[in-house]
């Protein structure tokens, strides 16, 4: 048995992360809070419940956004436990058809959303673009690469269209996730990259924590993994950005992306970049920083798409309720999902795209 599953024996007796549990908030249902999911999973293991459409709905409602663990004093790895239980369900042939289809697509193409194009260049610095960044949000990828160029870095794009292993792991297919993780590492090693910048927090979380913890795969020690937001924030003095004109009105809110709660170092860095891009400190959402909720861009878009859509709508509603006219975010995965679900007048802008407009000419 996967040792992470032991977490359900603690989480089923605990309600202490309820205040940051995103699915609980949008459904108002005890059963799909960390406590409820753990209780249902534990009762299935004890034989008091069986896996049926009702109980599977609960099991697949966990979004794997990391909020519960980020607020857990005893660091219970409940998302990893749920992923491990989903693996048992998949092995028993009980995974829902849409979950199986998403997995099969990744197993076949190495991508959930399009195609994977391995890198052919070599270099010391790399940017891991990822699946969504390459297949669904190329403008963010291009802006990031131009900003890095302005930092006078020669960067190799890697992982173009490649799932980092996060989605299949979360769906409950650890062997496919391991294969994806190995592909990521192999590509980085093949291109000679020693400093790997990562475009999306989802992939960054996979590399920094999930691969080791859930898949037992270690990254080579000579590769340094860096959050792109952190790196660019450190480069602000060198970039000689031109402050935007006419930006007195504080009407743009920053959306901490999905998984931000797992990467608390990035809170300040992202806001530093926002100030440069906007000319003022961004409006803060209610669900921000260590309580930021995910949008429906995790595996939940396949496991419980109904909940995924509501998670995204809730982030948009948060911005509207705060009086924002526009929102800004750095993560291509979060941005894509927000744009997909936005039916309001909110303007959604990429942080890197906005920063690009502040670069001096010919930089």
């Amino acid at each position: 048995m996967n040792t992470a599953i032991g977490a359900i024996e603690n989480c089923r007796f605990c309600l202490m992360c309820r205040h940051v549990a995103p699915v609980g908030h949008i459904t108002h249902n005890e059963s799909v809070t960390p406590h409820g999911i753990a209780l249902v999973a534990a009762m299935q293991r004890q034989g008091q419940l069986t896996w049926n459409p009702s109980t599977l709905d609960v099991l697949y409602a966990e979004p794997d956004g990391g909020n519960c663990r980020a607020h857990c004093v005893t660091d219970q790895p409940l998302p990893a436990a749920i992923a491990a239980i989903r693996a048992e369900v998949a092995d028993d042939g009980l995974a829902p058809p849409e979950v199986v289809r998403a997995h099969d697509r990744i197993a076949e193409n190495h991508s959930a959303f399009g195609s994977y194009e391995p890198a052919t260049k070599q270099g010391e610095w790399g940017l891991f673009v990822g699946d969504v960044g390459f297949n669904l949000a190329q403008e963010t990828m291009r802006a990031a690469l131009k900003l890095l160029e302005a930092c006078e870095l020669d960067v190799v794009s890697v992982g173009c269209g490649l799932d980092s292993g996060f989605i299949p792991c979360s769906l409950g297919y650890p062997r496919t996730a391991q294969a994806q993780a190995r592909l990521c590492i192999e590509e980085v090693q093949r291109t000679g990259i020693k400093k790997l910048l990562v475009l999306s927090p989802q992939d960054l979380f996979a590399f920094l924590q999930m691969h080791q913890e859930r898949l037992d795969i270690a990254w080579p020690e000579d590769v340094v993994i860096i959050d792109l937001v952190d790196f660019l924030a450190s480069q602000v003095p060198n970039l000689k950005m031109i402050p935007p004109a006419g930006t007195a009105e504080n009407a743009t809110a920053y959306v901490d992306p999905t998984h931000a709660v797992r990467l608390p170092r990035r809170f300040d860095a992202a806001r530093t970049l926002c100030e440069v891009a906007l000319g003022y400190a961004p409006l803060e959402l209610f669900w921000r920083e260590d309580r930021a909720h995910p949008v429906g861009s995790t595996a939940i878009q396949f496991t419980r798409p109904d909940i995924g859509v509501r998670l995204t709508e809730a982030r948009l509603e948060d911005a509207i309720n705060r009086g924002a006219q526009s929102i800004v975010c750095d993560d291509p995965v979060t941005l894509y999902e927000l744009r997909l679900r936005n039916e309001s007048n909110l303007h959604i802008q990429g942080l890197y795209e906005t920063l690009l407009t502040q670069l001096p000419p010919h930089s």
């Binding site: 007796f13 309600l15 205040h19 005890e30 209780l39 004890q46 008091q48 419940l49």
Partner: protein, 479 residues
Amino acid sequence: MEWTGLQPEMVRSELTEIVGDAHVSTDDADRLVYATDWFWLPQMWLDRGEIPRKPDFIVRPKSAEEISAILQVANAYRIPVIPWGGGSGSQGGALPVFGGIVLDTKRMNRIIEIDEKSLTVTAEAGINGKQLEWAVNEKGLMLPHYPASANCATLGGYLAPRGTGTISTKYGKAEDLVLRMQVVLPDGHILRTPIVPQHAAGPDFYRLFLGSEGTFGVITEATMQLDYLPECRLLRAVLFEDLTDAIEAGRQIMTRRLEPFVIRLYDPRSTASRVKKILGYELEGAYMVLGFDGDKDIATLQEEKAMDIINGFGARDLGREPGEAWWNHRYDFYYPPQSLKLPWMYGTTETVTTYDKIEKLYFAEKKAVEEGYKEWDIDFIGHFSHWFHWGVMVYTRFIIRNPPDDAKEAVRLHNRVWNTAMTAVLENGGMVNEHHGVGLKLSRFMRRQYGDAWPLLDRIKKTLDPNGIMNPGKVGFGH
């Protein structure tokens, strides 16, 4: 026991008409999850392979009007209705012991108004406590009710069992902070209590709903008193050799109105076990955390005066760090596996009485429990944590690390320990409870608690809820 056939389908169709199909559930998973709250007994029952009584329906209304309509359906079909907030109660107050409708209030989570002049917040009862706190914090304010359950409990759950929070010693219990409420009565009538609680316009009837735990109606909205976020919080810890001296020092601090926001006094057994486990301090004696807040000059002076009293008892000043560590980790005690959890048997027999009785009560209960269940190697620990001008609450707990494996035998032992503890409490002038509420757990002690006064409460219940639909089996009603 399953309720099947035509009648439940009739009820379901009516409930669906009121709240919509998405907000009525009869799913297996939901019914099991809503069959237990934080009471040890149903958790143990489930853990030992038994199935507790499940609700027939879980319904999530959006308004007082929808609740009103639901209660009218429940009266028509004579179905129990169990209001549900965060499900974090430890007394079985939210258990559907006779099945029926669990009325989950969490969709009613709007903040209606924050009045920055009168320092009040009006919110719907299903709002999460921590989220409400974050919202008022953004205005430089706080709702000074900080229970350990704030992360999961709701505003309605603060009020229904008359809850107490960590800083109640200065700011009062939840019931002291409420100005007005909206309540749906069992017959569906929606009422609002007057705009302020302190007046002379007749009897103080609004307090009937505080502590009624859903047996007199459903609290759907409340206006609560706020305070400014304090300029400073000064915390420190001291160590007494003797528990008696520590209680007396606390009494003197309170009766001289030095206004600490917290006095948390651990008995020597708790100091040696819980304080060591959570905070890592190995100490012998009675560990006291003392806190003053607000204006820095005033808080500093209050702390100096309190320390004069404490020094008079020869207590050792441990300095600020252990006090601040306690404050920063005060809820860590409730996270598994650090919290008490199954398979252990445990119960919090917290009580409150006046200063002249508290020490005798504590030692009487301790002796009765320790001597009565010696063969079970029972552990009895406690801390004194909510202090008043007239007395103090003691949060006593029993722990049996090797209880019976058989669920029914475990129920019998559990209830015997409670009988022993509550008998000692009642015989020594204590209340069966200070802040967790009555629920199912203490329901059977209510007649003994109130004696001659009980028939009045019973008559009020029968008048308000003639069909007995509201949370039956709780607070002494529906037996």
